[in-house]
């Protein structure tokens, strides 16, 4: 195993935080406690998401999708993120962004986007700026399988290729859009092959295997650092509907099959065999992560709402004044 015990356990803890944080969201949502929020949960995709962020170097950037609660709970300050999710004044953008537009340059997270695929060319341009500034950083731009069908995704890959941009396109392929299955979205099996059209390579990995995802991403990030962009596709399964509260069109047997391959259970087995994990430790990690998640929501619930004045602050629309802009 190329990773230290500490690294392996950190990934486990992060996956559990992702899972448990989203379980708490579901619980509170079902109780009617969440008055605001954009609840596109990624439950089931923990190995893909945590494998990806584990591969980032300290100066690398992560361009997130809207399906980000678990991963943002790990990458950002969970309290401030939760407050942002429910539009509180203590959130990252004082409640204007929620999770669907969350970003934090200080934390090297490029903004999520409500327009699927629209963040891709922005990520490419940002990657080019890093190269122009002689930085050693790489951008990992994340998209889902569905948004990889947007025309702008092709344009972004093409620009990355001709600019030798330090970027990796990471496709979380959960096999479905809101309701449209991937079989009705593309004729290719592996989305990593989309780069062939623009001359950049790609690999497809088992998105339920956190170590495989991390290894593939580390290799792609190192290539990107020397100006060779590529694609990594992680095939995974979304346990929840597109959005909390929407019906799910998939058949029960699909879920049953996916549950057999639960990325956290799989990883627990591996770590158990390595002697790094037992049931007591598993329970302890879950308990601690639940406490962190509940704490974050307590913080968010008790935070003030943004005022009307804060919301209508015109200085947040334009930076340069002069003339009648209102």
């Amino acid at each position: 195993m190329k990773y230290s015990n500490e690294q392996l356990l950190k990934m486990y803890e992060q996956m559990v935080l992702s899972r448990v944080y989203e379980e708490v969201i579901i619980e509170y949502n079902n109780q009617g406690k969440l008055k605001a929020g954009s609840w596109h949960l990624a439950m089931g995709e923990e190995a893909a998401q945590i494998g990806c962020i584990s591969a980032l170097g300290p100066h690398d950037y992560y361009g997130t999708t809207h399906r980000n609660h678990g991963v943002m709970a790990n990458k950002l300050d969970i309290k401030k993120f939760t407050a942002e999710c429910i539009s509180k004044a203590t959130g990252y953008a004082r409640g204007k962004a929620s999770s669907i537009h969350i970003g934090s340059m200080e934390d090297r997270v490029l903004m999520a986007n409500g327009i699927l695929g629209a963040g891709m060319p922005i990520a490419v341009g940002f990657a080019k700026s890093l190269k122009m500034n002689k930085k050693d950083s790489v951008v990992v731009a994340v998209t889902g399988d569905s948004a990889s069908n947007e025309g702008v995704f092709y344009e972004s890959m093409n620009l990355a290729a001709i600019w030798d941009a330090p970027i990796v396109f990471f496709i979380e392929n959960n096999g479905i859009g809101l309701s449209n299955p991937i079989s009705n979205a593309t004729r290719i099996d592996d989305l990593s092959q989309k780069g062939i059209a623009v001359g950049i390579p790609g690999v497809t990995v088992d998105g339920n295997d956190v170590i495989a995802v991390r290894e593939a991403m580390e290799a792609a990030i190192e290539k990107a650092r020397s100006g060779h962009p590529s694609i990594v596709e992680a095939k995974c399964f979304r346990y929840r509907p597109h959005y909390e509260g929407l019906p799910d069109v998939r058949e029960k047997k699909e879920f049953e099959a996916a549950m057999q391959n639960d990325p956290i259970k799989r990883y627990e087995k591996i770590l158990g065999e390595m002697g790094l994990l037992n049931q007591e430790k598993i329970d302890d990690v879950h308990k601690k992560k639940r406490a962190i998640s509940v704490d974050a929501f307590d913080y968010a619930f008790s935070s003030p709402d943004p005022t009307k004045e804060d919301t209508l602050d015109f200085n947040l629309v334009y930076k340069s004044f002069g003339g009648n802009l209102i």
Binding site: A97, L110, A118, F126, K128, G151, V152, L316
Partner: protein, 323 residues
């Protein structure tokens, strides 16, 4: 004073600004080999090299989006779209990304990006190469819209645009790009939100945009012979809009014609008309008249002139306000 073309004025503005600030970069089509479709960037590649004057493939959504990313990375960006009609491909980048990023980041991010694109007809290139697009964008908070009419305005307003920290849609006019005008050698800028009183008059206020300024001047000359004295105002920037100058004129004349080349329905003439009606209703002596293109696509070739407005339309509208 020396005279140069509007296109040369733009080239000079970009050259001087890129010399002043080596953090300014230009992205677009056919910059290196021909200096843009109407020569707006001739010589910039030779002057600043391919690191700063960057030819892109035909992919407006991609490279305008990338310009936003470069701006996030600390660059000051100019993204040229070869014809304003094609900005539809970059519409999301301009409208949903650049214009909203500052607000969505609670003021932490800003996008110093000028999207330059030739607006308007006159080349008779038809429905995809001759439109005036400012109306499409005028409903977007977070964006500024600049519409220069003369070489002098183009240079001075471009300098303000590139020094500005917000996204700016800079719509140069295709036909006017070829026209010469007086441009001083020395440095100057024109602030946003200051309309230009092109012609002083007492009877009717004509608020005209780009090519319609020239048509209005011709209309005013004709009407002067009949003793009708026209005031012409060129707003120069739509966002911000210099309401004070408009209101001062309307309060003086009490009669208003608004002329633009974009289709009349949904054009910015409707907005300007409403702004005037809200604040100056008691000064109006007759209904506000709007002039725009016929509400139909532009035909290719010489028949374009049947769709776009001209001096005669403006004369008729002015006379209607005097009835």
């Amino acid at each position: 004073m020396r005279t140069i073309t509007y296109a040369q004025a733009l080239t000079e503005a970009q050259s001087e600004e890129m010399k002043r600030d080596d953090n300014i970069f230009l992205l677009g089509l056919d910059l290196k080999n021909i200096g843009s479709a109407v020569g707006q960037t001739v010589g910039l590649y030779e002057q600043f090299g391919g690191e700063r004057v960057i030819d892109t493939p035909i992919s407006e959504a991609g490279y305008v989006g990338a310009a936003i990313g470069l701006a996030l990375g600390g660059k000051r960006m100019i993204a040229e779209i070869q014809f304003a009609d094609w900005s539809t491909y970059a519409f999301d980048a301009i409208v949903n990304q650049a214009a909203k990023m500052r607000y969505l980041s609670d003021g932490k991010l800003n996008i110093p990006l000028v999207v330059r694109a030739p607006n308007g007809g006159g080349y008779q290139f038809g429905a995809h190469h001759g439109q005036c697009v400012e109306g499409w964008y005028s409903n977007v908070p977070g964006l500024k819209i600049v519409l220069p009419t003369t070489a002098y305005d183009a240079k001075g307003l471009f300098k303000t645009a590139i020094r500005n920290d917000d996204p700016v849609l800079f719509l140069e006019h295709k036909l006017l790009l070829l026209m010469k005008g007086e441009v001083p050698e020395e440095e100057y800028t024109i602030p946003f939100g200051q309309a230009n009183v092109v012609r002083s008059g007492t009877d009717v206020t004509v608020i005209a945009i780009q090519r319609m300024v020239l048509e209005s001047l011709a209309a005013a000359e004709e009407l002067q012979k009949e003793g009708i004295n026209i005031e012409i105002i060129d707003p120069r920037t739509l966002i911000p809009l210099d309401k004070d100058t408009l209101f001062t004129s309307v309060k003086k004349t009490g009669r208003v014609v608004i002329a633009h080349e974009a289709p009349k329905r949904g054009g910015v003439g409707g907005e300007i008309s409403a702004v005037i009606a809200e604040d100056c209703f008691e000064f109006l002596k007759s209904p506000i008249m709007r002039i725009g293109s016929v509400n139909m696509p532009l035909p290719f070739g010489p028949q374009e002139c049947f769709v776009t407005p001209n001096k005669g339309d403006i004369v008729a509208a002015i006379k209607a306000t005097l009835k």
